[in-house]
């Protein structure tokens, strides 16, 4: 070696070269990721909803994704404003999604 220059390897990204990446994706991260994906799904279903007015299947899919997205959004709001202690964050994900679907399906079956 001519000098004391050391070549560092550029930082590893999260999960890069890691065979155990999947199994260690925690629920909070899924909550974040799936909320973003459901936002894109809402864009698609909303367009379909406008085009195919009152098609039952489109209505249902749109309501399902909106409920899912809203439940996860509610989670962030509750945590942001300290309305729920952060130690319940895992239960909050399942709880809010379940609550959202119960409310949504109740409304759905009372209408149709």
């Amino acid at each position: 070696m001519n000098n004391m220059t050391i070549e560092y390897r550029k930082p590893l990204k999260w999960g890069e070269l890691d065979p155990h990446r999947r199994e260690n994706t925690r629920i909070g991260m899924w909550a974040w990721l799936l909320q973003r994906i459901s936002a894109l799904a809402i864009v698609v279903f909303l367009a379909l909803h406008i085009v195919l007015t009152y098609k039952l299947l489109v209505q249902l899919l749109l309501l399902l994704t909106v409920t899912f997205h809203a439940a996860l959004g509610l989670r962030v709001i509750l945590l942001d404003f300290n309305l729920v202690n952060v130690k319940y964050q895992r239960a909050l994900v399942w709880g809010l999604i379940a609550l959202g679907f119960v409310v949504m399906l109740t409304i759905w079956f009372s209408i149709y």
Binding site: R9, H20, E23, G28, A31, W32, A47, I50, V51, Q89
Partner: protein
């Protein structure tokens, strides 16, 4: 205690700065006498002693106090000295250096960026005024409870490594630095509240509430909780208070602001393009379906109304006519009454919409008139206005008779 000898495959990330290759994994097999009393650090020390003396890793205290031996153990950040082999499900053990830090060699990373971010948050206590010791925060006060064990941070870097946002936002201070800022911001004796808050607020909104930092912290500190606390402070402290210059703010290291490099620019451009494209798609579909039908020239079509024999001469017969129109993706179904007046061989087909405001008019055989119930419009048998507000006679459809069947033209 049952002691079971097990053989474990240990895969260790290797990177040699003198022979840089981007990194690869070396596999070792080690017999472990008792997994419950063997830490990952023990495994590394044994491998270094028995199999490959060139494995590089950091450690110092061996009792979870110094934070030197943080690494990614099977996809999850942990202290090597705190993780027992028995904590890891059977199978291979993969050891990787921390994410988001330059790798110097094998499992050793350069923590310089970590401490730079730490310094940005002014991580030292500067009293507001000349407090006489001892501390003024009572152990049972709300303030002390808020801060809790967040002061226990050993700056091991696990949280920053687990945080996906630390990679995507170069200027993000990360959970550890913000947690440090939180412990001081929540401290009522803190003399640097305002400058510290301004710095913390610069980057605390990069948190996406993923809780990765909370999940991996070896000291069970919640970075997310600290960051949320700082975000809430912004609600109460919107305008910077003019502080009397009683405390001299020490020369603070400048905030790291990421320059707009090519990659960042392209990413932002990509996000912009995707946004504009999806807005255009949704917008054009919405426009086409709402405005389209009024602009499009409706195609004309012949709709069968009735067999001619069902329409009696000398009378006005009302027949329901069903048809649908298509406009691009949108199909609309109509079911409208047509009034057919037949005198001998003469046939007239009236549109049943009143020419006033479009209500459906009805034939009243007794008075021999078409009557609109809405505003009292009356038309005679020829469709001319007799009374009421309608501005013009009833509209007529074009019609034809084809093999004994009556058709009218709509559209």
């Amino acid at each position: 205690m049952t002691q079971e000898k097990t053989k474990r495959e240990v895969k260790i990330f290797r990177y040699d700065p003198e022979n840089p290759d981007g990194g690869h994994f070396d596999s070792f097999v080690l017999e472990i006498p008792d997994e419950a009393t063997t830490t990952i650090l023990d495994v590394l020390l044994r491998l270094q002693r028995e199999q490959d003396p060139s494995i590089a890793f950091r450690f110092a205290c061996r009792v979870n106090m110094c934070g030197s031996c943080a690494m990614v153990v099977n996809g999850s950040e942990a202290l090597a000295c705190k993780t027992n082999v028995s904590h890891i499900p059977p199978g291979e053990i993969t050891l990787r250096p921390l994410n988001h830090f330059p790798v110097i060699r094998d499992l050793v990373v350069d923590m310089e960026p970590f401490f730079k971010k730490y310094e940005e948050m002014l991580p030292f206590y500067e009293p507001k005024e000349d407090y006489s010791e001892p501390a003024l925060i009572r152990p049972d006060s709300q303030e002390r409870e808020d801060i809790g064990l967040a002061t226990e941070c050993i700056a091991c870097g696990c949280c920053v490594s687990s945080c996906t946002m630390a990679h995507y936002h170069a200027e993000y201070a990360g959970p550890a630095a913000l947690n440090r800022a939180f412990t001081l911001l929540a401290d009522s004796r803190d003399g640097l509240f305002q400058p510290r808050l301004e710095r913390a607020l610069e980057s605390c909104y990069n948190c996406r509430t993923e809780f990765n930092c909370t999940e991996v912290c070896p000291k069970d500190i919640s970075g997310t909780r600290a960051i949320k606390y700082i975000q809430r402070l912004a609600l109460k402290h919107r305008t910077p208070e003019p502080e009397p210059a009683r405390v001299v703010v020490p020369e603070a290291p400048p905030l790291l602001v990421a320059a707009l490099d090519r990659r960042t620019f392209l990413r932002q451009l990509g996000v912009g393009v995707v946004g504009v494209a999806s807005a255009l798609v949704v917008g054009s579909i919405a426009t086409a379906t709402t405005v389209g039908p009024t602009l499009a020239k409706a195609s004309k079509q012949w709709v069968p109304v009735s067999a001619l024999e069902n329409i009696k001469a000398g009378d006005v017969t009302t027949v329901m006519m069903n048809y649908e129109t298509k406009n691009r993706l949108y199909t609309q179904q109509f079911s409208v009454p047509v009034m057919v007046s037949r005198t001998g061989s003469d046939i007239v087909c009236f549109n049943s919409s009143c020419t006033h405001l479009g209500c459906v008019v009805k034939w009243e055989a007794l008075s021999g008139r078409f009557h609109c119930a809405c505003h009292g419009g009356n038309f005679d048998r020829e469709g001319s206005v007799i009374a009421g507000p309608p501005p013009r006679p009833l509209d007529r459809y074009a019609f034809k008779v084809d093999s004994g069947h009556l058709f009218v033209e709509v559209g």
